[in-house]
């Protein structure tokens, strides 16, 4: 709690800047589009962060949830005339349920076994949307859909969509932070740190993995619904395996297990990716190189490494006045 209070001035400045940003780029629709994509990725990657960064369970199949959210929403809107905003929520909820089922069945798998299983889920969903029974998803042709409308107000351009996205980002990040700083969040971290001890401390590991996966899937599925209704078009191409890799790259690049990591990662990877647009075919290669840079040079990601550096600096500064430091930490503890 203390921490969030301290960060408030910085937080407010960032939020103010975010609100002002679209006015600066009003004449540059391409940059506005990128900004909207950044918002969407922040939600998706924050979702992945819950399950990977906090709960320590790897997922190489988050494109599946991204697709379930997108197609869930599009299909509900098309065949059952569910208003777009509610169809997005329902799509995300379906993603969460499927995430829970995946986690329940895979709860005993670790590391590479889990990554293989989640990868398989990604492939299954991809096959389902590209070879759907009765061609309900339009298969490889994809399908067009409507933009988000809230109480009849259509968010039909990037300028309008941006603020809706911003509100979503703030809500999702706030909920994530609330959950992380609670009994449930601590249980997630305990599982990441030491499954055996977490079990011994009365934590039902399987149930908590299910919860982490469900929440993570909800985030990513909602992001999938967002992107589809922003571009008003869904096609299987957006939900390939490389999308899962992209989420993971962003998360590792920014730094796992933090509020800012997914934000920093989404922005930096997307900006790098877009500036290399001419090299579209080399995208995977670029991701590979980025991944290597992170793993070898900055294992904590950009935000993680910066924070560590900053903390060390602070520790060195206060090393002279240890008593004062202890007093502060005591205050914080209560």
């Amino acid at each position: 709690m203390d921490k969030t209070k301290k960060m408030n001035p910085l937080m407010l400045a960032v939020i103010a800047a975010c609100i002002g940003l679209p006015f600066v780029f009003m004449g540059a629709p391409f940059i506005l589009l990128i900004l909207c994509y950044i918002e969407i990725y922040i939600i998706a990657v924050s979702g992945l962060d819950i399950v990977f960064g906090y709960c320590g369970q790897i997922s190489l199949g988050h494109a599946a949830f991204y697709a379930i959210g997108a197609y869930g929403s599009v299909l509900l809107h098309k065949y059952y005339n569910v208003p777009v905003f509610f169809s997005m929520l329902i799509g995300a909820a379906i993603g969460a349920v499927i995430g829970a089922i995946v986690a329940y069945t895979c709860s005993n798998l670790v590391f590479h076994f889990l990554s293989l299983a989640t990868q398989a889920v990604g492939e299954i969903v991809y096959i389902l949307i590209s070879h759907s029974p009765g061609n309900i998803t339009g298969n490889f042709v994809g399908m067009y859909t409507d933009s988000v409308s809230i109480f009849g107000f259509k968010l039909d351009n990037q300028f309008k969509f941006y603020w809706f996205g911003l509100v979503c980002v703030l809500i999702f990040l706030a909920l994530k932070q609330a959950l992380i700083n609670s009994r449930t969040g601590r249980a997630f971290m305990a599982i990441r740190e030491n499954v055996k001890a977490a079990d011994g401390m009365g934590i039902d590991v399987r149930m908590y993995k299910v919860k982490a996966f469900a929440m993570s899937a909800f985030y990513t599925a909602f992001a999938g619904a967002l992107v589809t209704h922003m571009t008003k078009y869904a096609s299987p191409d957006s939900f390939l395996y490389k999308q899962s890799v992209m989420f993971l790259t962003m998360l590792l690049f920014g730094g796992t297990g933090s509020l800012w990591g997914p934000i920093v990662g989404s922005i930096s990877v997307l900006v790098i990716n877009e500036s290399l647009r001419d090299l579209q075919n080399l995208q995977m290669l670029v991701f590979g190189v980025l991944m290597l840079i992170v793993i070898i040079a900055i294992p904590g990601g950009i935000y993680g490494t910066a924070k560590e550096y900053y903390d060390n600096l602070k520790a060195k500064k206060s090393a002279g006045k240890t008593d004062a430091g202890t007093a502060v930490s005591e205050k914080k503890g209560v």
Binding site: T184, A190, D199, M201, G202, G333
Partner: protein
């Protein structure tokens, strides 16, 4: 309070624990000793749910607990520490204790996420209580440091207090004094007494005979998975079988 009847644990053909009968008396420290490889930790793992006994029963407060999962046994009121320290390394000392309080807190997934007033209150109280627990073992100055940065003795104490934080009725300690120097051991002796005074029952595996003989009211000796002897410290100390097992006599 806790009764193990004819507990046997087999790994394939190997019988690690063989028909052990053991009774932990309320509000006492019971010692479990024996040479290396006697099956002490395996027996512990069986009580705490890591292994399911091949035969036999474990009854805690009149309830069968054999075969339950570790988290269920912890929720029932038996907490433990590990021979090799198993802390949540990257979490702070305070968070480690808070995780220990997990079974007795009520916040659910959605109430945690939306921070209902009840959850806020519980969280605040839990943090205060966790801080009290750290004070109890003198680790309060490390409250916001990651567990990995604590000195070795501090890590042992943190593990004990994390176990206690669940308000357990029985605390299982697996070689808690290993690696402590004599000064720390004396302090640890006093800490055990304080834990007993809180009404917590202790079962302890320990190799330090001085500590065991001094503080345990009743001792069980295991050798090759079998119960070799039991009794009050004086009896066990003078039991020729025990002396043979420890010093290696020929017979």
């Amino acid at each position: 309070m806790l009764e193990a009847n004819g507990v046997t644990i087999k790994f394939g053909g190997l019988v690690a624990v063989n028909h052990v009968n053991l009774k932990i008396r309320d509000k006492q420290i019971t010692g479990l000793i024996g040479p290396n490889g006697a099956g002490k930790t395996t027996f512990f793992n069986c009580i705490s749910g890591v292994y399911t006994p091949s035969e036999g029963t474990v009854i805690f407060d009149g309830r069968h607990i054999e075969g339950l999962r570790p988290y269920q046994i912890c929720q029932a009121g038996i907490s433990r520490t590990y021979q090799v320290i198993n802390l949540f390394w990257k979490m702070t000392a305070l968070e480690n204790v808070l995780v220990g309080m997990h079974p007795r807190m009520k916040g659910g997934f959605l109430t945690d996420m939306f921070k209902t007033p009840a959850v806020r209150r519980e969280e605040k109280e839990a943090k205060e209580k966790a801080y009290e627990w750290l004070k109890f073992v003198g680790l309060e100055k490390y409250a916001n440091d990651p567990a990995s940065s604590l000195p070795y003795g501090g890590q042992r104490l943190l593990e004990i207090v994390r176990g206690l934080a669940s308000n357990c009725k029985i605390l299982l300690l697996d070689e808690p004094a290993a690696g402590m120097n004599s000064g720390e051991k004396e302090e640890f002796d006093r800490l055990l007494q304080k834990i007993l005074d809180m009404g917590v029952t202790i079962l302890m595996i320990e190799h330090d005979m001085k500590l065991v003989m001094h503080i345990c009211q009743y001792i069980y000796v295991l050798e090759y998975g079998k119960l070799l002897a039991e009794g009050v410290p004086e009896e066990v100390q003078n039991n020729p079988e025990v002396i043979r097992a420890y010093l290696g006599g020929e017979d």
